[in-house]
């Protein structure tokens, strides 16, 4: 399990427990955390679940695969530390991670 903190664009923090094997997108949508839409339900088809990951955590995440990279490449609010949270699967290694949400997913 990983304790994950989602920080809204306005600074509001939400910390929840995400079971291992669940994506950070799914967990956020299930808990109703605002700022992550996840329209496609995790099919990597919509890029509406983008988050910013601080540098110290980036290395612990799986590599960005081609599909995610292309989707991110066209996101208006993409930064160097952007990831699609539907591709980030919780594990003990991610316990304590904090991710930041963009102003809008569209």
């Amino acid at each position: 399990m990983a304790k994950v903190t989602y920080i809204e664009n306005n600074g509001t923090e939400h910390t929840i427990d995400v079971p291992n094997g669940t994506t950070l997108m799914e967990a956020a949508v299930k808990q109703g955390i605002p700022g992550i839409d996840g329209d496609c339900g995790g099919a990597c088809a919509c890029a509406t679940c983008m988050v910013y990951v601080p540098e110290e955590w980036a290395a612990k995440l799986p590599e960005v695969e081609t599909m995610e990279e292309t989707m991110l490449d066209f996101c208006e609010r993409r930064e160097d530390n952007s990831r699609l949270s539907c591709q980030l699967v919780a594990s003990d290694a991610l316990d304590g991670i904090k991710v930041q949400m963009p102003e809008s997913q569209h």
Partner: protein, 406 residues
């Protein structure tokens, strides 16, 4: 007077509306009514990964178990709303109860269009719209079982793809002269027909279904052209019908969907509607649209919630859709109806990656992208902007999508 907000329907739009009502600061009572025994869940996986068994109920359920309790929402699963009484501002339910409302959201979604041919009542004739439908279909899934799919649209083809992978003997019957005829150019139809055939699915176009044969259980589908297609079961996917009856009976304006404005308000200012059951004025296309998509349900859910919380967040979006079949990720931006030119990027005749750009008098109105994420993502922006594009540049793959946009 009650300030309660009641939501009729418990699908994607309803779940979003609940979340957004709280996020927009509405603190009053919320009651949610759904006629299925389940909390809101995602429908798209039902014909994809949920049907294949790759994911279970816990992964299609939209919200966590405690979400509704934490949001202080009273839930009524398995409860059908039978009447909206606008004069007394209350709704009546099938179990004989009544609930007063201050404001109402209608998110009743849609239901399958049924095929009323002789034998329609036979065992083994299935539709796919909800979780229980999938369970009945899965019960037939065993290697070598003969399945006939009636309707070569998204649902039918997705089911065919899942079944073919599981080793079933699959035949798709389509009335039109090509699959997905209602939504894509022939180029895309023919591509999908080729891939399905490569995967072992038989596709028969120009076939009218005349009836289902069998004593108690279906044994064959008979066509108007005099052919018989033996089968162990059938899945019918011939479209959906918006659930607008409650609204119409309550005197709300209904015209191919419950008529709403850009703030999701119906003809009664105390009632909003969202999702598949609505018809909204679309600013990008300049006319009314009724859409059957998750994106539409989510965004209208947000807009309706904002409106009832006293804010204005107009719904103004280019629709988008997706379909997964085999290793093909089809992503669709916009609606191609009325296009004057289809421009192909890539080679649909070989391989499994290309895109078709639909232009109407030079303006980009829609794109079908098969395993082409850059084309899809860029087109979302270009369609919203009503960009005028040069067909020759679109077709030239040496020019990347960002340059085409520039």
């Amino acid at each position: 007077m009650a300030d309660d907000i009641l939501i009729i329907g418990a699908g994607q739009a309803a779940a979003q509306a609940v979340q957004s009502l709280r996020a927009e600061g509405f603190e009053g009572p919320i009651r949610l009514f759904g006629d299925e025994p389940y909390a809101p869940y995602q429908r798209p996986p039902l014909s994809k990964k949920f049907l294949s068994g790759e994911i279970g109920y816990d992964r299609v359920e939209l919200k966590g178990e405690d979400f509704y309790a934490q949001a202080n929402v009273e839930t009524h699963w398995g409860t059908r709303v039978t009447e909206i009484d606008r004069r007394n501002k209350r709704i009546l339910t099938g179990d004989g109860r009544e609930y007063a409302y201050g404001k109402l959201i209608i998110a009743t979604g849609s239901r399958v269009r049924e095929l009323n041919v002789p034998g329609f009542e036979l065992e083994g004739v299935h539709y796919l719209r909800n979780i229980d439908d999938v369970k009945s279909i899965q019960a037939h899934f065993r290697e070598g079982a003969k399945m006939v799919v009636v309707g070569g649209g998204y649902i039918g083809l997705e089911v065919a793809a899942v079944a073919a992978k599981r080793g079933l003997d699959v035949t798709v019957l389509e009335t039109a002269d090509r699959v997905m005829a209602r939504v894509v150019d022939p180029i895309v139809s023919h591509f999908y027909e080729r891939v399905h055939r490569e995967e072992g699915v038989k596709i028969e176009t120009g076939v009218t279904v005349a009836g289902f044969e069998g004593k108690d259980k279906i044994t064959a589908v008979s066509s108007g052209e005099g052919k018989s297609y033996p089968c162990d079961f059938v899945v019918v996917g011939i479209g959906i019908i918006p659930n607008t009856e409650l609204a119409a009976e309550a005197g709300l304006k209904v015209e191919n969907g419950i008529v709403v404005d850009e703030l999701c308000r119906t003809s009664d200012p105390d009632i909003c509607a969202a999702g598949d059951c609505t018809s909204h004025p679309n600013a990008v296309y300049g006319h009314r649209l009724r859409l059957e998509s998750v994106h539409n349900a989510i965004e209208q859910g947000k807009t309706a919630a904002a409106t009832l919380a006293g804010k204005e967040k107009p719904y103004d979006q280019v629709p988008w859709f997706w379909s997964d079949q085999y290793d093909l990720k089809l992503q669709i931006v916009g609606l191609s109806q009325g296009y004057t030119q289809a421009v192909v990027r890539g080679d649909p005749a070989s391989g499994r990656s290309f895109a078709v750009f639909y232009l109407k008098d030079g303006v980009l109105v829609a794109v079908d992208a098969v395993n082409r994420a850059p084309e899809f993502m860029m087109s979302k922006i270009l369609t919203q902007k009503k960009a005028v594009l040069d067909p020759a540049r679109i077709a030239d793959e040496s020019i990347n999508m960002k340059e085409i946009a520039g």
